[in-house]
């Protein structure tokens, strides 16, 4: 003990550490033994807290690590693969794109506004920590049934939170996705993505170095928020009691984040910083431990120096707090004042709280007492890793489809209208109109189409980005389903004129202790890995979210793909909108529509089928190349891929997105009308092309071996779809627009 302290100023609370307390902290018996072994003694209370968060599923990836190694993570463009705060790729002109997607599922279910908001805040920090200025956000959302009683509250809160944070912090939210499915009734998904750009030689890595270098604490003060928040919440099943974990709720302060971005970027532009890292899940502990581990050094923290919101915060709480908008900086010795000057000008705290040491230990002192001293290794490399049992489910998901029992609707116009107003196909405008998509002055293709495209001024080109996952497909076949998600992402990028370059992923799954969940997980990774190799799109960052279970039921497996592509020239992009009459409408690609697993089957007939549509990766690749080429060359500026809802939905969306111009098309129907109109498949794209551009597209298509069919032309104000002369659909674009655009506001209002 150091100098005698009075009780009023010493807030160390240190209950006796026992195995039972270890178990309460979420450690298993075996893990507790290993803790004792690593230390050669019983841990202190603070050390127990540190082990429990560092070894949590969320921080240690203990169930997923053995599988993630299968992802291809290298390639000619990769500047930074997984392992840092975010991944990075070369985008030409000496510039890099830094990006990552991350989950904030459980916090968003407990408090949707703050959960979503702090999710956005966290992913932004992961990106600007690397030295990159964030220029685009996306969000991938899953809610329960549209008519579930909690859905309006959760939807409203999450969207307001994403917008509330992103708009205020000043980064454009340019895209995302939102789906409704009963499988998420008790466990919604909120995945947030950020992309930033930085010059190659300005990329920062969070690796502590330089024995004796000071460690600075920057940003908001530490409070009690989120003790065991993200880490433990995301590391166990969701139970009724979880809703009681209210002290774990974190509140975001986008204003401080905005200042933090500017101040950090300014500080990183100088030469005073060795490493910088945000305090994310498990706060101060995991940020310092990770920096120490990457640099192969030790870190010693003086907890008396931590800026506190409330003086009674204990050392245990300081180590575990997940208060937002905080960073840890390793400064060069003697440069602290330069840094303090910058941060203070932005109104931010910047205080030395420790030093880099050579003993390879994570140490923390409080009031002259050492409250923690742990080998860094024990917390990182030597953290538990489990090869959990894997078993395919006894019976396959879904039920075999008996097409004979699926009655074809008599009024296909009514069916189309109904589908356009269904929860998963209706307009997302209610969502993205709550997001500022203009700020930054770089948004070339705004939300509402396929991928979003953002300009890169330094290169004159652009970056296309999209998030995708059809979890029904994945549930029916995790391998093919995950590949469909990738193919759709590649297609979404291609139809805006980009070429998919690399990706991040957020693997949202159920309880990994269930062998069937691990089977889904492992199969999805295999499928994605194969597709990554095939498309040449390595995984540069990502996140795993397990334990998405409520009351024993797992969510549908949801490996969300966040794909980033390069657009050569900011002046040549395409959108889905039909802007002109008298253009020729063509269908490219040879995917054969199927009813199995389609949105139509689920909405109109209430069943799912038993497998996703067939997938042809080679066809996808050729089709994507064709789209990028013809758009790049300026032959085409209207293109849209076919995904959920099939051909009829896609063409309707193209009419709706423009000024109201209709089109007349005639399709060849082999079998059933509903299959032709609403069946789903991979590898199909629609384009509307000027008459004088059609030959060029035809030539390119022939060269790449992509089938091209002329379907009809644009014009008038009605969408007409005929098959071999018989009119199947005949609707005013205005009416379709009305059905499509009013559906989501009704869901949000609980109407």
């Amino acid at each position: 003990m150091g100098a005698p302290v009075t009780k009023a100023t010493n807030y160390r609370v240190a209950p006796e550490v026992t195995r039972a307390l270890g178990l309460e902290h979420g450690l298993t018996d075996g893990e507790y033994d290993r803790v004792v072994e690593h230390l050669g003694r019983t841990p202190t209370f603070e050390e127990l807290g540190v082990f429990s968060v560092m070894w949590s599923e969320h921080c240690s990836y203990k169930s997923s690590r053995v599988h993630l190694g299968r992802f291809p993570t290298t390639g000619p463009r990769v500047l930074q693969g997984p392992g840092e705060n975010a991944g990075g790729i070369d985008i030409g002109g000496g510039m890099a794109a830094i990006f990552k997607i991350e989950s904030h599922n459980h916090p968003s279910y407990i408090e949707p506004y703050q959960g979503a908001a702090t999710g956005v805040g966290g992913i932004l920090r992961d990106v600007f920590t690397m030295g990159a200025r964030p220029i685009a956000n996306m969000n991938s959302l899953r809610f329960g049934r549209a008519d579930h009683e909690k859905t309006p509250f959760l939807l409203g809160g999450v969207v307001a939170g994403v917008g509330g944070y992103g708009n205020s912090v000043g980064v454009a939210t340019v895209g995302g996705e939102a789906h409704f499915d009963a499988g998420y009734d008790g466990n919604i998904l909120v995945n947030a993505f950020t992309l930033g750009i930085v010059a190659h030689d300005k990329i920062f890595r969070a690796s502590a170095a330089g024995i004796g270098n000071p460690i600075l604490y920057v940003g908001s003060k530490t409070g009690r928020d989120g003790i065991h928040g993200a880490s433990l919440l995301a590391s166990s099943e969701f139970k009724e009691e979880s809703e009681q974990m209210k002290p774990t709720v974190q509140v975001g302060d986008p204003f401080t984040e905005n200042l933090l971005i500017e101040a950090c970027l300014e500080a990183m532009a100088g030469d005073d910083i060795v490493a910088i890292q945000d305090m994310g899940a498990a706060g101060l502990t995991s940020s310092s431990v990770e920096m120490a581990s990457r640099g192969g050094v030790g870190i010693c923290l003086d907890l008396d120096k931590i800026p506190l919101r409330d003086e009674s915060v204990t050392p245990y709480e300081m180590l575990l707090s997940e208060s937002q908008e905080r960073m840890v900086v390793v400064a060069k010795q003697g440069r602290e004042d330069n840094l303090r000057e910058i941060f203070e000008r932005w109104g931010l705290d910047c205080v030395p709280v420790g030093i880099v040491t050579d003993d390879g230990r994570f140490r923390a002192t409080y009031r002259g007492e050492e409250v923690a001293s742990i080998p860094v290794d024990a917390l990182t490399d030597a953290a538990p890793a489990y090869n959990r049992p894997i078993a395919a489910p006894d019976k396959p998901a879904g039920e075999a489809l008996d097409l004979g029992a699926i009655k074809e609707p008599t009024d296909l116009t009514a069916t189309l209208t109904r589908l356009l107003a269904s929860p998963n196909l209706c307009s997302r405008a209610w969502i993205h109109e709550q997001y500022d998509c203009y700020v930054g002055a770089n948004t070339l293709v705004r939300p509402g189409g396929d991928a979003a495209v953002v300009r890169v001024r330094e290169t004159g080109g652009g970056l296309a980005m999209t998030t995708d996952c059809n979890s029904r497909y994945v549930e029916l076949d995790p391998y093919i389903g995950a590949q469909h998600a990738m193919a759709e992402a590649v297609r979404n990028i291609a139809v805006t004129g980009g070429r998919a370059a690399a990706m991040s992923d957020c693997l949202n799954f159920g309880n990994p202790e269930k062998p069937e969940v691990m089977w889904q997980f492992s199969r999805a990774i295999d499928g994605m890995s194969e597709a990554c190799n095939f498309f040449g799109t390595p995984v540069v960052s990502g996140n795993v979210s397990f334990y998405n279970d409520t009351l024993g039921a797992s969510i549908p497996p949801t490996p969300v793909i966040a794909m980033v592509g390069l657009v050569k020239d900011a002046r040549t992009t395409a959108t889905i909108a039909i802007e002109k009459p008298d253009q020729i409408v063509v269908l490219l690609g040879s995917g054969e529509p199927e009813l199995n697993a389609s949105e139509y089957l689920s909405v109109v007939h209430g069943c799912t089928g038993d497998r996703p549509p067939a997938l042809d990766l080679e066809a996808e690749r050729q089709l994507a190349e064709l789209c990028a080429r013809v758009i790049e060359r300026g032959h085409v500026s209207t293109a849209h891929d076919l995904a959920d809802g099939g051909l009829a939905i896609a063409i309707a969306e193209m009419c709706i997105a423009g000024p109201g111009i209709g089109c007349d098309i005639d399709i060849t129907v082999a079998d059933r009308f509903d299959t032709a109109l609403f069946g789903e498949s991979g590898a199909r794209v629609l384009m509307a092309i000027d008459a004088d551009g059609i030959d060029s597209v035809e030539t390119e298509a022939a060269e790449l071996g992509v089938a091209m069919t002329r379907l009809g032309s644009t014009g008038g104000t009605r969408l007409r779809i005929a098959a071999q002369g018989a009119m199947l659909v005949d609707a005013a674009v205005n009416d379709l627009h009305e059905a499509w655009s009013t559906a989501l506001p009704k869901i949000a209002a609980g109407a």
């Binding site: 205020s168 000043g170 302060d253 700020v439």
Partner: protein, 222 residues
């Protein structure tokens, strides 16, 4: 012409405004820090959009006390052209340099959509370049853009031609569809829509260009 663009903590569109002014429109433009007490010989001042001081308490309420705002008030009084965009408009209202106030959208939600405006007064420093009654498409993006004023203020600004822009289709519940107003002299203008995001053909429409160009005419006439 040299433009000064204020930078409060929490401003978001200040760099976009500089980009619009310099790279698209070819003016000189510079950032002015909220703690500065002079305007560095700028010929026109923009208060940009964003969330100054987090927009905590009320939008624009905390920014109006920044040291730089005293200089802006003097500049405005001496007839210098001052433009408040979105949050900048809110700051000007809070500072009493423009009449009225902005409150939460009637729909209670942030809205980011293109809005069509009618130019109601084309004699101000920022509208000389528009035809009288011209329409312009300029995006809005705000949660608190509902313009309010009491009856007497409303009558007064109506009588003095201080209503500068109206929405053709009201997106936020503003009284009388008001999207922008000016002071009596017409040198201080505030509007909720974002003209700086309506100048570059690559990112959308260009209907915001005349707004900035108007200042050239205003200066010449002065």
């Amino acid at each position: 012409m040299k433009w000064g663009v204020l930078h409060f903590p929490g401003s978001n569109d200040e760099r976009d405004t500089i980009y619009a002014l310099e790279s698209v429109l070819g003016y000189h433009a510079r950032l002015l820090w909220h703690g500065d007490r002079n305007l560095a010989d700028c010929d026109a001042i923009v208060l940009p959009g964003g969330f100054s001081y987090g927009d905590y308490l009320r939008c624009g309420a905390l920014a109006r006390f920044s040291p730089v705002m005293e200089a802006v008030a003097d500049f405005a009084k001496s007839g210098g052209p001052v433009l408040g965009i979105c949050n900048g408009f809110q700051v000007l209202c809070e500072a009493g340099l423009l009449p009225g106030a902005l409150v939460q959208n009637r729909g209670l939600k942030f809205r980011c959509v293109p809005a069509t405006l009618t130019v109601e007064n084309n004699t101000t420093a920022f509208t000389l370049g528009y035809e009288d009654g011209a329409q312009a498409v300029i995006p809005i993006k705000h949660g608190e853009g509902c313009y309010v004023a009491d009856q007497s203020t409303l009558a007064e600004i109506q009588d003095h031609g201080q209503i500068v822009f109206r929405y053709t289709s009201n997106p936020n519940g503003s009284i009388d569809d008001i999207a922008g107003v000016c002071n009596r002299e017409g040198n201080v203008v505030g509007l909720m829509p974002h003209p700086e995001h309506a100048v570059d053909p690559l990112t959308g429409v260009t209907d915001g260009q005349p707004l900035f160009r108007s200042v050239d005419q205003w200066k010449q006439a002065a």
